[in-house]
């Protein structure tokens, strides 16, 4: 396992760990079978993400991507947040080992799940936002097993 310094920094000193009591939206993705569960809390006001927090059960990369993803969307508009891809999270972390790419996907999905929750609660429609998948288990399996 070889993590970049950035990943190790965000793992050892994760930003935005915690809960938001009166969150505008909360999203949980992943499952214990995969070994990664991410929960993202968002505080949204006037279409702007005022605050973001997370809790993560998972490996070093899972914690680091949660930390980086929440960091990247704080202060952004919903539209900007929607544009955040797992690739952008990875790049901001100076890359991830191949077997850990799925963690960045999970971070992206956790964010979208929280936004979906916000939209549902407030009965609004966010352009381009899909409902979170029920169980994305199969998506992430055997990414590594070539041929």
């Amino acid at each position: 396992m070889e993590y970049s310094e950035k990943v190790m920094d965000h793992f050892m000193h994760p930003r935005n760990v915690g809960e938001i009591e009166d969150a505008s939206g909360v999203g949980t993705v992943g499952n214990a079978k995969c070994g990664d569960i991410m929960k993202v809390y968002l505080k949204i006001e006037d279409g702007i993400i005022q605050d973001a927090k997370f809790k993560t059960f998972g490996c070093g990369a899972a914690v680091a991507t949660s930390s980086m993803a929440t960091e990247l969307i704080k202060g952004r508009t919903i539209e900007e947040a929607l544009k955040l891809t797992n690739k952008a999270v990875m790049e901001a972390l100076d890359g991830l080992p191949k077997v850990k790419v799925h963690c960045s996907v999970l971070a992206e999905e956790a964010l979208r799940a929280a936004l979906w929750d916000y939209a549902k609660t407030n009965n609004i429609k966010i352009e381009g936002l899909e409902p979170p998948k029920e169980d994305d288990d199969l998506d992430h399996h055997d990414l590594f097993d070539e041929e």
Partner: protein, 393 residues
């Protein structure tokens, strides 16, 4: 502590100085090919003969029954594929357990694709197979039983002698993967009715890439690596003389020092197990409490994930391993922990600490001091812990 603390001796060990010294000449001046006729080649040949004797003595076999290989994995592959091929006309059924090392499991899965039928015996919550299960799994078609001597993850020691009794009575070949047991448990292949036994060098302070397979005289086995006439015509390839010499020395030392070293390790092991279970809540010991390797600690920390624990331990200079499969490419946690009946999140949250001859009481105490705050910190980050606390309110 400035120094690293190595608590992963089941993964591999440091070559010990006595072995290192014995090896060096064979990496240097004593380089002759043992198969050659000239004088200096005799030294290489004698060195191999001596190592074969050391290995044979360690398990009460004869030298003619010991074959050197490139490691425990090759030994397992050869034993299982070789016996399967040699006896396939008698039957095509193999019995193994669900907690074997991948060297055995993946070999069996391969044989399934080749038309063999394999029964994977379940284990109880301690990791023990049930002898009645074994007996009732045996059919007229059964040619081979392969059950590991001791498990590499949870340290559970299987009832090898009892298995040997059953298989010998039924006339079925019995192979055991003793890679983790050698040097920790007394082994007598005659007394235990073992037909084939796999060994590896690098778990007992010998070099990596060395192993041996014991094949009882009379047991047929198809060759696995075809080539020159080395290893009594049974395993081709120019001998890894330096590795073989190292394996021989390592196994001799490991068995002669076993009793004393086990005492020391047992105490250390118990200090760590009790220390963790007593100070960190929601922790559980995996594997059998007594019938376990003297160097194995395996503990589940509820609500958190193993790799995270390892990384934080590593930051403190402590090196261990986990049942979380984050590094292996697959996302499934350890098949061994799942076989014990652990749910996925508990399997993901397990940490293995395996002790060795260089570990001290001070190191154990350092671990016990550093571990609790790490666990707390990770739990505070965990949504599962949050859910648990809320549901308990």
């Amino acid at each position: 502590m400035d120094k690293k603390i190595y608590f992963d001796n089941a993964a591999t060990t440091k070559v010990r100085p006595e072995v290192y010294q014995e090896i060096l000449p064979y990496l240097d001046e004593m380089y002759a090919n043992p198969s050659s006729v000239y004088t200096i080649a005799r030294d290489s040949k004698k060195a191999i003969d001596k190592a074969r004797e050391q290995v044979a003595n360690a398990i009460n076999a004869t030298t003619r029954e010991i074959y050197f290989t490139s490691g425990g994995t090759e030994s397992d592959n050869w034993a299982i594929k070789g016996v399967a091929d040699a006896y396939k006309n008698k039957g095509k059924h193999i019995i193994t357990s669900s907690i074997e090392h991948h060297a055995v499991l993946h070999t069996c899965e391969y044989l399934e694709k080749q038309g063999f039928k394999v029964t994977y015996l379940p284990v109880d919550k301690y990791g023990l197979i049930n002898l009645e299960d074994l007996k009732s799994a045996i059919t007229d078609e059964t040619i081979l039983v392969s059950i590991m001597f001791a498990n590499n993850e949870i340290g559970t020691i299987e009832p090898i002698k009892e298995i040997g009794k059953i298989t010998r009575e039924k006339g079925i070949i019995f192979h055991t993967d003793a890679v983790q047991a050698i040097g920790h448990v007394p082994i007598d292949v005659k007394d235990m009715n073992i037909d084939l036994l796999s060994m590896s060098g690098h778990k007992i302070y010998g070099p990596k890439g060395t192993g041996a397979l014991y094949v009882r005289k009379g047991v047929r086995i198809t060759q696995f690596i075809h080539g020159g006439a080395q290893e009594f015509n049974r395993r081709g390839g120019t001998e890894n003389v330096c590795g073989i010499v190292g394996l021989g020395k390592a196994i001799e030392l490991a068995t002669s020092e076993m009793e004393e070293e086990n005492k020391r390790l047992l105490e250390l092991r118990q200090t760590i197990i009790d220390g963790i279970l007593n100070t960190v809540p929601y922790t559980h010991l995996n594997g059998h409490p007594e019938q376990r390797l003297s160097n194995n600690v395996n503990i589940t920390f509820d609500f958190i994930e193993g790799e995270s624990i390892l990384l934080m331990l590593d930051f403190k200079g402590i090196e261990a391993s986990s049942g979380s499969a984050c590094t292996s490419g697959s996302l499934d946690p350890s098949h061994v922990l799942l076989a014990l009946g652990l749910p996925h999140e508990k399997a993901h949250g397990s940490v293995r600490i395996t002790l060795g001859r260089y570990n001290t009481k001070e190191e154990a105490e350092f671990l016990l001091k550093e571990l609790p705050p790490i666990i707390e910190r990770l739990r505070n980050m965990s949504p599962l812990w949050e859910d648990f606390l809320k549901s308990n309110k």
